[in-house]
Structure formats: C-alpha cells, structure tokens
Amino acid sequence: MLILQQVANGVLLGAIYVTIALAFTLTIGILNFLNFTIPPIFMLSAMTAWAAAQFGLPFGIFGPMPWTVALAFGIVVAILASLLVERLTFRYLKVRYGDATEHAIPLVSSLGFLLVFQNGIRMAYGTEPHRFITPLGDMSLHLGGIFISLPQVLSLALALIIVFSLSYLLKRTRTGRALRSIAENPDAALLMGVDVARIVPVIFILTGLLCGIAGSIFAVNYGQVYSGMGDEVGNKAIAGMVLGGMGSIWGAIVGGLLIGLVETMSIYLFGGDTVQSVVWGLLLVALVLRPEGLFGHHGIGKGKF
C-alpha cells in the first residue's frame, strides 16, 4: 500500500515540476536560451500573490485581496517580469557571434535577474516562510486507502490542460507555426516573413504565465511561500526537462512526472538524504547514454555546415 501511496505522491509532486519544466523547454527549444530567470519569476509571482492577499497593493490601495484575486495578480506580475527579462536580455541577442559560448550571453543576464529578484524579495518580505491560506489547502480524498490532497489533483489536471493547449497552440495556430519556424531556423524564419521581434515576446508571455500558474499551484498546495522556493523547484524542473528532452513539450511532462516519481521512490527506498544524488546521478547517466533526452532531438545548439 505504501508503495502505491508513494507513486501517487510522486506523480502529484511531479505536476509542479511539469509546469516549470514547460517554461524552461519553451525558451530553450525555441530561442536556445537557458533561462535562469524562470525560478525567481516563479518565486516572485507566489510572493507577490501572498503580499497582495496579506497587505493589498502598495500604498494600501484596495486593501488585502481575496486569495483568488491575489493569485491572478501574482500571475500578472510574473508575466510583466518575464517581459522585462525579454526587453533586457533577449532583445540584445540579435548579434550572433557564431562561437560555442554564444548561448551564454542571455545566461549571464538571467543570473543577473536572479540576483535582483531574489534579493529584492528578501528585502521586502524576508527569508522565512509565510503562510498562504486558502480554503482548498486542507481538502483531501482517501481513495482505497491512498491519501490524496485535492489541490494536488487539481494542479495535475491543470498541468495536463496546459500541455494540451500549448501543443494545440504550437501545432494549429499561426503564432504557433511562426514560433516553430523560429525554433527550426531563426534566419530562415526571418526570410520567410516571420516578424521575429514581435513573436519572441509571445514566448516570454507564455513563460511568465507558466511561472505564475506554477507559483499559484505551489502556494495553494503547500500553503506557504518563501524567498528560496524557486531554487529547488527550478533545479528539479531542469532535471525533468533534460530527462524528457529539451525543446519537447511531451518530454517536459514525462520528465517532470518522472523526476517527481524518482524523488519519492528514492525517499521510499533509500531515504530522503539520497534524493539529490539519485536524481542528479540518474540525469547524468541519461545524458551520457542518450544526450538528447527521451523525446529530444539534436536540433538544439546544433553546429552549422
């Protein structure tokens, strides 16, 4: 029974990784950009949602918000932050230097953003956890002896809905096709009349949206928010994305869930202190054996001839 319980725990834990892994995979798959601002934006969105629920907007406008409105506010903040990142990193990446470290340039500025967001939040709201109170927080089900919390089920469902709609967006809409053409060959996309400067912000809006949604899921599920919450989720989501294959939406979902499962299973089998070495060791083995991930393709960071 315990093992089934742990499988359930793992899958539900994976849901949060999936959402963040999707954000990572979008920017890396389409823009070849390892965006380290994703974890701090995720944190930023949850923390501002908490602050809005606790204090309201700055200068006391409106007063404390209901938790739903506060979460929506957090998502909006995440999108704005993501657009700010686009404005100050990606827009300056027009020049292609053609060497092996070219994708490092936005990486550096994304780490700059990490410093700004994280220290800003620490300064404003401290480093210790805050409680995010929702009526959903304690709702749970018992399915044949297995304990499942309701918000976790909802967040898994939400993650799946996001994946399906993203996949639809990329396959069936004009914007989606434009995005995919950029992913395949940015120069050719430009030649074929895709307005790259207009379409790139779409990715960042999606990234911000995903971070915001993940922040909401986290706040509701775990009932707490804190300035360091992005680190662990971000790292595991990266692991999930790589395991599933960079740039692949289905890879992100499989990888994210797999990391959640591996995590709870290694807790179950070997204890919590082994999680870090098991998860990352597994990822290392995966990268050695199949460098492109489960669903990945070799297109990312390809050499040119």
Binding site: Y97, G98, D99, K302, G303, K304, F305
Partner: protein, 266 residues
C-alpha cells in the same frame, strides 16, 4: 589511367541522409600534381563529396584512398595530418583569432608529440613561417588584424593559405571564386597555379567555367549524386550527358533544391 598512378582515388563512394542518397557510387582517380575540377548543377552533391573526403561526414559505402591507404574510416583530424586540406564554400575562419593565428592553425596537423604541443609558440618559428607564407602569396594584411575587418577576397586567400600550412598532398577548394569579380578571379587563378606548381594536387568545386577551363586539366561532372563525366576539361562541353544535365530535362532541375538542403544539413 591505372589506379596505381593515382595519388588519390574515390572507389564506389555512397552517402545517404535519412535514406535519401545524395552521393551514389562515385569513383574517380587523381594523379599527383593534377588539377581536377568537380562540377555539376546545384545539388549535384559536390560539397557533400568534399565533406566525405575531408571527413566531416562518414561515408556509407566505398573507400577513399590516399597514397595507397584507405582513409575512409579515419577521423577528420587524422586525414588532415595525412595530407588532405580544404577551404570552405562560405569562409570559415576563426572570428576571434587574428590573421596570422588563423594561418598558424594550419600548422597543427604537422605537430608531433605533446612536448611540441605545449611549447610556447614564441619559442618556435611557427609565427615567422606563417607570416612568410602569407607574404609569399602576397596576402597584404597586418598579421594581427582581426578577421572581421578584412575584405572578402583577402579572407578567401587567408583561408587557402591556412589550408596550405598543413603541407597537404591534396587541397580541396570549395568554390574559391564565388563572390569575386573578374579581376580578383584572375588573381586567384595565378595564385592557385603557383600552389599547384608547388606540387600540391588541387581538387576544385567551381561554377565559374572560365576559371575551370584555365585552371583545371581534368574534370569530373556530377549530377544527382552520380558521376556522369570523367575526362579532360576540354571535352566536357561536347559531352551529351553533361549538356543534358545542364540544359535539358527541366523537370529534374526543379527537384534539385531537396538535394541541396540535404547537402547543407549537418
């Protein structure tokens, strides 16, 4: 011509990308000191053949013989050490290295042993040699100049000088005259003649037929990845298969872009 005379031969070379054959059963021989042109319509597989010879791609079938040794299984860096050097269709100089440093990279294939690898270059004559080579071919630049600031024609020459620094037996030139005007092309021809006089066998992919005629004594024509002509250059224009490939059968020329893209895929 017997294969024994050849310094360099292709035997039944075949290459396919994702099931699509871009080079099919190509064989030819090159004698020492010969200047061979490899021509054909767009997408005929010329650059692919170069990539196969230099080792950028692995062949599926056949053999590549240099000086009696099959080099088809060797990694690219070993082939260079054995005497194959090349230039690129779109110039591939190292953007962050200076002119002379780019040329010095060509010497790498001649380096033997870890000690030589770890000797500071200012303790050797490598730099003087590179500068002398640049001067010998009248490449008028500052040796420390950044690549990006050089005119196109000079960059082409630098790339060829770089290739020559490995002291190749066979030099592969991929469209050396592309982008040059008539005057520059004439200069290039003289430059290449001097290279050939130095005992280097030339293998040239070129669209400019006047250059081919004045430079090369031997021509191989490819079409759809197959060899359709192999003989003296002056006989090319009379060959019916070649004429058909270049002028006739428009239906097939329309299909060529597919092969062209495969040519550039990595």
């Amino acid at each position: 011509m017997s294969p024994n005379d050849a310094i360099f031969s292709l035997r039944g070379v075949t290459k396919a990308f994702a099931g699509l054959k871009v080079v099919t059963d190509v064989s030819f021989d090159v004698r020492p000191g010969e200047r061979l042109a490899l021509i054909g319509p767009n997408g005929a597989g010329k650059t692919t053949v170069f990539n196969l010879i230099s080792g950028a791609y692995k062949i599926n079938e056949g053999s590549i013989i240099l000086d009696g040794v099959d080099i088809a299984a060797l990694p690219a860096s070993r082939r260079c050490a054995m005497g194959i050097a090349r230039s690129f269709q779109n110039i591939r100089l190292m953007p962050h290295l200076s002119v002379v440093e780019n040329v010095m990279i060509g010497q790498h294939a001649r380096t033997r042993g870890i000690l030589e690898l770890l000797t500071p270059l200012w303790m050797t004559r490598a730099r003087q040699e590179a500068e002398a080579q640049l001067a010998a071919f009248d490449v008028a630049t500052y040796p420390n100049q950044a690549i990006a600031t050089l005119p196109y024609g000079i960059r082409k020459k630098v790339e060829i000088v770089r290739a020559l620094m490995s002291r190749p037996k066979v030099l592969l030139l991929d469209e050396p005259a592309a982008g040059l005007n008539t005057n520059e092309t004439a200069q290039l021809r003289d430059f290449l003649m001097r290279v050939a006089d130095g005992g280097v066998t030339l293998l040239v992919v070129e669209h400019d037929m006047s250059l081919v005629r004045s430079l090369c004594d031997h021509t191989v024509v490819l079409n759809f990845g197959r060899k359709i002509f192999d003989g003296p250059t002056h006989a090319v224009q009379e060959d019916p298969a070649v004429l058909e490939a270049y002028l006739g059968r428009p239906a097939h020329t329309a299909a060529t872009p597919r092969a062209e893209t495969a040519d550039h895929a990595s």
